[in-house]
């Protein structure tokens, strides 16, 4: 085993990638496509200040400081950089939600990447921390944010080390701190260590955690972090990838950014493809137009299913997302169309399952994840997620009954009342139910325990039927009848 090259005795022969372009970044494949956030990844020393400065590093910041904060904010708004954390909300619009005249305002960087299948922020932090720092500085300048907290997932030791070194170097060189580059722009960036909690990726839970509390989401509305955030002050929470886009926007202008991708989804997107594909990898794709078929089967991307097996299902946007099947392959990687088809793009993670996959077991690994990561604040998630996990555990082990399946659906209804989004299936004659779902919990952890299981039950009912015992439906005896008999 090695951190640089895959071993020759890999578990599956077709799993070993061909043409490793950059063996020092396992799982990353560079292409001939336009690059916004991975332009330095071709250099082995891409994380150093020297390499950054030799390749236009901090040039975007210089252009930014030559503009007024309002002009820079307008550039970002015009570029329509969409949030890359999951919700896909335009960053420039989010910044505008801070109330006038309320100070101080803070920037909190969400680097707590933990969504199953997702693996882009870690690379951006490990491979190009200066790009992220530059993005933070641009955001602080444009939106008047006077201190920045870079919250990095605790389990990412290398990212922590690279960012710490990058911050130290950038402070020494005068890019962070007092009077940056001789202007009156002054801001501190503080590296903050997470300690292992998926739910902290939710922005209000992130703020709680940053205040030294248990990472439990805050009830919203009425107050969103842009109005009442860290220490009760206006706070912008942006994802790592979102901020990594800003140096490009500042340096080349919003027109150059919107020239890539589609009007509703400009720029590029980092997508991680894992599971049963020939070349699992992280790819910077053209936003909005690249289809799932391109990504899963394309030569420049994942090159098809291992052993040329058939595709059974895939998760289009991180473990929380309802699943897609073959019918959805020609949908582009674009939020609105994925939503109409019954799922979401989330954090840009595609997990592919081939025809050999045991679907109930696959669903179990995800439901277990969300049940485990529930913070315990909302009952439907704390109890419901755990119920789902336990029932599914029983079913997967072969001890389940069809009553368990009904009970799962009932618990699912408690977490997500009404119709649950799912994909269409020609095989089963199913119409799609569009995203999003209704939910009885504050954040998305609860629904995420149900979404993969619901997809599995809906799109592959026969796999559950095959492993559960049929039991006669229990008949409820009315309580009055019993008491009548006693009397």
């Amino acid at each position: 085993m090695s951190d640089t090259t895959p071993p020759s005795n890999s578990p599956s022969p077709s799993h070993a990638p061909n043409a490793v372009t950059h063996s020092y970044i396992p799982g990353f494949y560079i292409g001939d496509r336009p690059k916004v956030v991975t332009s330095r990844f071709e250099y082995e020393d891409s994380y150093t200040l020297e390499r950054s400065l030799a390749t236009d590093g901090y040039e975007g910041l210089k252009k930014c400081l030559a503009m007024s904060p309002q002009e820079m904010h307008d550039e970002v708004r015009n570029s329509t950089v969409l949030g890359r954390g999951g919700a896909g909300f335009p960053a420039g619009v989010k910044w505008g939600f801070t109330p006038q005249g309320v100070w101080p305002r803070y920037l909190v960087v969400n680097g707590d990447e933990s969504e199953p299948g997702t693996y882009k922020d870690r690379l951006l932090m490990e491979r190009d921390p200066h790009q992220l720092i530059e993005g933070c500085l641009i955001a602080c300048y444009a939106a008047g944010l006077s201190q920045c907290f870079l919250y990095v997932r605790g389990e990412m030791a290398l990212a922590q080390e690279r960012i710490a070194t990058a911050l130290n170097d950038a402070y020494a060189a005068g890019y962070i701190g007092k009077n940056i580059l001789g202007t009156d722009f002054s801001v501190d960036i503080v590296l903050h260590w997470g300690a292992g909690a998926y739910v902290v990726g939710e922005e209000t839970a992130l703020i709680e955690s940053l205040e030294g509390e248990r990472g439990m989401p805050r009830l919203k509305p009425p107050f969103f972090p842009a109005a009442v955030g860290l220490y009760g002050k206006p706070t912008i929470v942006n994802n790592v990838e979102t901020l990594a886009n800003l140096p490009f926007v500042a340096l080349n202008g919003s027109a150059a950014y919107t020239a890539i991708g589609t009007p509703t989804s400009p720029g590029t997107r980092m997508v991680a493809v894992s599971g049963h594909v020939k070349r699992p990898g992280v790819y910077e794709i053209i936003n909005g137009s690249t289809t799932f078929r391109d990504i899963i089967y394309g030569d420049e991307f994942s090159q098809g299913i291992r052993d040329d097996n058939d595709l059974k299902a895939f998760v289009p946007g991180g473990g929380s997302a309802p699943w897609f099947v073959e019918d959805q392959l020609d949908i582009p990687f674009e939020g609105k169309q994925a939503g109409a088809a019954g799922s979401m793009l989330g954090s840009g993670a595609i997990m592919v399952m081939d025809s050999t996959t045991d679907i109930p077991h696959a669903a179990y690994t995800l439901t277990k994840f969300y049940a485990h990561e529930s913070c315990g604040k909302c009952t439907p998630c704390r109890e419901g997620g755990t119920w789902l996990m336990r029932m599914l555990e029983r079913v997967v082990a072969g001890h389940g009954t069809d009553a368990d399946l009904d009970q799962m659906r009932e618990v699912g209804q408690t977490i997500c009342p009404g119709e649950m989004p799912h994909a269409s299936s020609e095989r089963l004659g199913l119409e799609a139910v569009p995203f999003p779902y209704k939910m009885t919990t504050i954040c998305f952890v609860g629904p995420s325990a149900w979404a993969p299981l619901h997809s599995a039950l809906t799109l592959f009912p026969e796999e559950f039927d095959a492993i559960v015992t049929k039991v006669p439906k229990r008949v409820s005896i009315p309580v009055t009848a019993l008491s009548g008999a006693d009397a």
Binding site: H15, Q100, V190, A195, G212, A362
Partner: protein
């Protein structure tokens, strides 16, 4: 035995000073104590409570929420085997089973020599390199049973000492903000005006 050392108190004070409110330093300080002792001790939590001006119960209340903090001694090396979907699809279950056999402990247990703790873990953000694991939060990719055995032998022989610091050490590099460069944190209640680079009299256009 396990309050923060003088050296770490200096570090702790530096960390606390970076935040507008002291309690924000709580999690970083618990990490620091875990780095010192290998796990989070009661004495360390009492000491941290003094440093950030909260009760020891509040320190435990926060710290016990987070997966990475251990309140009992663990091995010098904590091996976390990922069990979430992408790794499960490519052999994580078999790897975990093999690890249990090799180490002679069930998931969650520590070897008799106290060197290695084996734990099941959730997604480690290395899904393309499945199945993956982390040793003290350092990734190992595409781990076969043979790789696992070789890694354990190397750990026991001390061959990975340079690469993998003992459990608790989060980053071998730390952030340090030089006094003459840093802006300094200000308590939010002490800030009334906008920052210097934002034009004061003319507020931003309504959005």
């Amino acid at each position: 035995m396990s309050r923060l050392s003088d050296h770490n108190v200096v570090l702790a004070k530096e960390i606390i000073a970076r935040y507008p409110k002291q309690k924000s330093a709580l999690i970083p300080l618990v990490h620091l104590s875990q780095e010192q002792n290998g796990y989070v001790t009661e004495d360390a939590m009492r000491h941290i409570a003094e440093l950030v001006n909260v009760t020891p119960a509040e320190v435990l209340g926060t710290a016990s929420f987070y997966e990475m903090f251990k309140f009992e001694p663990v091995g010098k090396y904590v091996v976390n085997v990922c069990t979430t979907l992408s790794c499960a699809l490519l052999g994580a279950g078999e790897l975990m089973h093999h690890a249990e056999e090799k180490l002679g402990v069930k998931a969650g247990g520590t070897t008799a020599d106290g060197l290695i703790t084996l734990e099941p873990a959730e997604c480690q953000a290395a899904c393309t390199e499945a199945p993956c694991l982390q040793v003290n939060y350092r990734h190992k990719y595409r781990v076969t049973p043979a790789d696992f055995d070789a890694m354990i032998d190397d750990l026991r022989a001390g061959k990975l000492d340079g690469e993998i610091p003992p459990h608790g050490t989060l980053g071998t590099q730390r952030q340090h903000i030089p006094d003459d460069k840093g802006v300094g944190a200000v308590h939010p209640d002490d800030v009334t005006d906008g920052p210097a680079w934002i034009p004061a009299p003319a507020p931003e256009e309504s959005n």
